[in-house]
């Protein structure tokens, strides 16, 4: 139990540190690289929670695809570090920080009180066949959502090509 706690806190610190770095470093490429580390850390967290397949998907989709796209686009832009990377305005800034702090407060408070509602139970899914059960569930109960997602991806693919083709788009015909 002690080792579990140490592992969790180590990983949580790792995550919080890199997430904080992501939102504070001025250079966007560095921010993207810190976000990659955050994603890998989250994959570790998922793994730790018994979601092995989801952790793998997190690595493949987020760390291996989405973030590569971010880094690539930022490299294409060739942005230098911004001198004023945060938006200006003292009052609005204070308001934004306060609302974020309020949100954290609410979330932490509700998380703290959730102990009473959902006491730690041992009904966790058995480790061996989580992925198999996930597959069965996905193709029976959630079949409709799954097919709709397929169509959504098609629409997005068409939309992306259309955006890049439109007047002023990246692949516009000259």
């Amino acid at each position: 139990m002690l080792w579990d706690a140490i592992g969790f806190y180590g990983m949580a610190l790792f995550l919080i540190f890199f997430a904080l770095k992501t939102i504070t470093v001025p250079n966007p490429i560095h921010a993207a690289l810190y976000l990659v580390l955050t994603m890998i850390g989250l994959a570790g967290m998922f793994f730790n929670l018994g979601a092995h397949f989801i952790a793998g998907v997190q690595m493949i989709v987020y760390a291996g695809a989405v973030m590569v796209l971010f880094v690539m686009v930022l490299m294409l832009f060739d942005l230098k570090a911004e001198i004023r990377s945060f938006s200006r305005g003292l009052l609005s800034g204070a308001l934004k920080i306060m609302s974020s702090a309020l949100l954290v407060g609410f979330a932490l408070g509700s998380a703290g009180s959730s102990v009473a509602i959902l006491d730690s139970s041992d009904t966790a899914p058995t480790q061996i066949d989580v992925t198999r059960q996930l597959g069965v569930l996905l193709y029976t109960k959630y079949l409709f959502a799954f097919e709709v997602l397929g169509i959504l991806l098609l629409v997005v693919a068409v939309g992306v090509v259309a955006v890049s083709r439109m007047k002023g788009g990246t692949h516009a015909q000259h």
Partner: protein, 390 residues
């Protein structure tokens, strides 16, 4: 990592061994590649330092270490230094997830005045039960080393090379991922060990609901998935940035691609990553399509301990199991070396693609063919396993 000191120690030693294996593959492969290319081109290759030029690599290492340290003036030093280290991580982590032999069993024994065991040790770094997904996930991180190198050196050739390389890697990842779907359809598992075990039997399949067994053929994946094997192997070439897909480092256009500004050991580390990818690719090919560490009628996880027991004259179950695993490991290595030789042979035989041809091949012919392979496999599996009588 283990429940007691003995298991923990063995597992730790195993991790160190895997890491050393990863690092040692490179000098050996570089030697094979240089001698092999010389043989193909009717030259001698390195033959002065040591017998057959074998210690050439030691001399190279010394040379690498004494090179002048250099950082491009306009680069980003931390990222520039981080890129070669990052390049080694994906291949090492992927290699550790691949079973290199059958697990061996240790019977209970007595040591230091207490009883230990029984244990079962895998011949792999870790087994999570989602082996294939883990390997794919880790190797999808390979694109970052290239992007970091390109960005860190802040040079237009490096940047072009990095972008080309990562665009190429991700494009071929699609064909690679899709051709593996056929293998999973066939064996219905993500675990490499299960796939190998399924292949250590005689050829057996369902024929319209009836079971057919062919005793004289092994149950290798190649027999069911020839198209998938070809696509996977070709995609692996692109993933490892090897010729004919080495556009990222096309000398004619890009100087040396993403490692234009790298020299000395930093350059060598990219090579460790590249050869590591080659090794992992060959091991995956062997495990998916060529029976892994087994050769059906003679060498299977059941027969190997007996053979080694007779050969070495050991009778203890622990040592028989251990030597049996070593024998199976040698079988796997022999198959892997055959594939590595194909990698080298192809590099010195085929010319390079043009970049548009390369992207065309990836997106417009390999991806559709991989899709076709998946659909056909699904249909055939459905027809064959469907309970026609019921």
């Amino acid at each position: 990592m283990g429940t007691d000191a003995f298991e923990f120690t063995i597992n730790f030693v195993k991790m160190v061994a895997i890491f050393l294996m990863m690092v040692q593959i490179v000098p050996l492969l570089v030697w094979v590649e240089r001698r092999g290319s010389a043989y193909i081109q009717n030259r001698f290759g390195p033959n002065r330092v040591g017998p057959l030029g074998l210690t050439q690599l030691l001399a190279d290492a010394v040379k690498f270490l004494t090179k002048e340290e250099f950082v491009p003036g306009r680069g980003y030093p931390f990222i520039y230094y981080a890129a070669p280290v990052v390049a080694m991580i994906p291949a090492t982590l992927a290699l550790a997830a691949i079973p290199l032999s059958a697990p061996f069993h240790v019977e209970p024994f007595e040591m230091f005045g207490r009883n230990w065991g029984p244990y079962t040790f895998m011949f792999q770094g870790y087994d999570f039960g989602i082996g294939i997904v883990f390997v794919l996930g880790v190797s999808s991180l390979a694109a970052y080393a290239l992007l970091l190198a390109g960005y860190g050196s802040n040079n237009k050739y490096s940047m072009y090379g990095a972008l080309r390389a990562s665009a190429q890697t991700i494009s071929y990842e699609l064909a690679m991922g899709l051709s593996i779907v056929g293998v999973i359809l066939l064996f219905n598992t993500f675990s490499f060990t299960d796939i190998v075990n399924a292949q250590s039997a005689p050829l057996n399949f369902m024929w319209f609901g009836k079971k057919v067994v062919v005793e004289w053929l092994p149950n290798w994946g190649l027999i069911y998935q020839p198209l998938g094997a070809v696509i996977l192997f070709a995609a692996m070439f692109a993933e490892a940035n090897r010729l004919p897909f080495d556009l990222p480092e096309a000398e004619g256009e890009l100087v040396a691609g993403y490692h234009t500004e790298y020299a000395g050991f930093k350059f060598n580390m990219f090579f460790i990553g590249e050869y590591g990818h080659m090794f992992v690719a060959s091991a995956l090919m062997v495990i998916f399509y060529f029976g892994g560490y087994t050769i059906y009628p003679w060498l299977t996880p059941e027969t190997a301990p007996q053979i080694m027991g007779k050969l070495l004259g050991v009778t203890s179950a622990t040592w028989m199991s251990f030597w049996g695993s070593i024998l199976l490991h040698l079988v796997l290595m022999a198959k892997v070396v055959a594939f590595l030789w194909i990698f080298i042979q192809v590099r010195w035989t085929l010319p390079r693609f043009r970049y548009d041809q390369l992207m065309d091949l990836g997106w417009r012919s390999m991806l559709p063919w991989a899709l076709f392979n998946t659909v056909i496999t699904a249909i055939v599996v459905l027809l064959m396993r469907y309970q026609w009588g019921a």
